[in-house]
């Protein structure tokens, strides 16, 4: 249709950055560096989204991913034996299979893209897309939006339940017992089995009558 425009050049550069940074994520020897590279890949995709006339989604991606990758880097430093990359590291398994799966996924999806009849109905540049999105979120699709919100709330609660050590009735990883039905009475609920050993009940064998 037209020649190679500035948009095309920008798109090519951003695509290259997104793909190369995405590949380097799994080829670098430092986990924090890996999360920075993943952030770079996300930022490049956000740039493409901006080129695709999605000013809100594009910038929201930058915002979301900056925070998310920051959290990732924090976890990297917390958990990994090699956070700063001082030692060469290669922690992979089923490597050939994974490469094959990745390549096949790429080829299969590409074939699907190239062989299918893609729609051609581009967005009008004058269209108020951000306003559209707002009206959609709090209008016809409000139920979907609210469901996502409730899911996120449930996620927060689930994450805290999973991750917090001190539970309401004692440490969460030692098995907890509810309090007795009468004050100072025997704990309600199922009795701990004898072979459970130390972990089960520090507090449960004291009876006050």
């Amino acid at each position: 249709m037209m020649g190679f425009t500035a948009t095309d050049a920008l798109f090519a550069a951003l695509s290259l950055a997104a793909v190369v940074a995405g590949w380097r994520v799994f080829a670098t020897d430092s986990m924090v560096r890996a999360s920075f590279l993943l952030l770079l890949s996300f930022l490049a995709v956000a740039g493409i989204l901006l080129l695709l006339a999605a000013p809100y989604i594009g910038i929201a991606t930058i915002f979301m991913m900056a925070v998310e990758m920051m959290v990732m880097a924090v976890f990297m430093v917390m958990f990994m034996m090699n956070p700063a990359g001082l030692n060469p590291m290669m922690m992979v398994h089923q490597h050939r299979l994974s490469i094959a799966a990745g390549v096949i996924a790429f080829l299969g999806l590409s074939a699907a893209v190239l062989l299918s009849d893609l729609p051609d109905d581009p967005v009008d540049p004058a269209r108020p897309v951000v306003r559209d999105l707002g009206h959609e979120l709090l209008g016809p699709s409000m139920l979907v939006f609210e469901t996502a919100g409730i899911t996120l709330l449930a996620t927060m609660i689930a994450a805290v339940v999973l991750a917090s050590r001190p539970g309401r009735y004692g440490p969460s990883d030692e098995g907890s017992r509810p309090p007795g039905l009468v004050p100072g009475g025997e704990p309600a609920g199922r009795k701990p089995e004898d072979d459970q050993g130390e972990g089960g009940g520090h507090h449960h064998h004291h009876h006050h009558h």
């Binding site: 095309d8 798109f11 695509s15 997104a18 793909v19 995405g22 994520v25 799994f26 986990m31 993943l38 890949s41 996300f42 995709v45 493409i48 080129l51 695709l52 006339a53 999605a54 989604i57 991606t61 979301m64 976890f75 958990f79 990994m80 922690m91 992979v92 398994h93 490597h95 994974s98 490469i99 799966a101 990745g102 390549v103 996924a105 790429f106 999806l109 190239l114 893609l118 729609p119 051609d120 109905d121 581009p122 009008d124 897309v129 559209d132 999105l133 959609e136 699709s141 939006f145 996502a148 899911t151 996120l152 996620t155 927060m156 689930a158 994450a159 339940v161 999973l162 991750a163 990883d173």
Partner: protein, 101 residues
């Protein structure tokens, strides 16, 4: 920049992400693979919205949902990593042969 080229880039991101999710031993690196696949999904969704839907707002809504999925995946993933690490001192997939306590 055409829809085909955008979708090809998205396919490449999904492919790399799948490689990462399958090949990495560390939980956190595995999650990075999942994130990269979702990154490709986000790009494909907005590409189709921009080129094929005349800007119908539902396309952007779907992108918002992809982001919500990313957030859920991260939060639950890290919570599980913390829980497993507390229980077994394990942070790689190999150290978990079983889900038994």
């Amino acid at each position: 920049m055409t829809l085909t080229s955008v979708l090809l880039v998205a396919a490449a991101l999904v492919g790399i992400g799948l490689y990462g999710a399958l090949s990495q031993q560390s939980f956190v690196m595995l999650m990075m693979g999942l994130e990269l696949m979702l990154n490709g999904a986000l790009l494909a969704v907005i590409g189709l919205w921009s080129f094929g839907l005349a800007g119908a707002p539902e396309g952007q809504l779907l992108a918002i949902l992809v982001m919500a999925v990313m957030a859920v995946e991260m939060a639950v993933g890290f919570a599980l990593v913390v829980a497993v690490y507390r229980k077994r001192q394990a942070d790689t997939t190999e150290s978990l042969g079983t889900l038994k306590q």
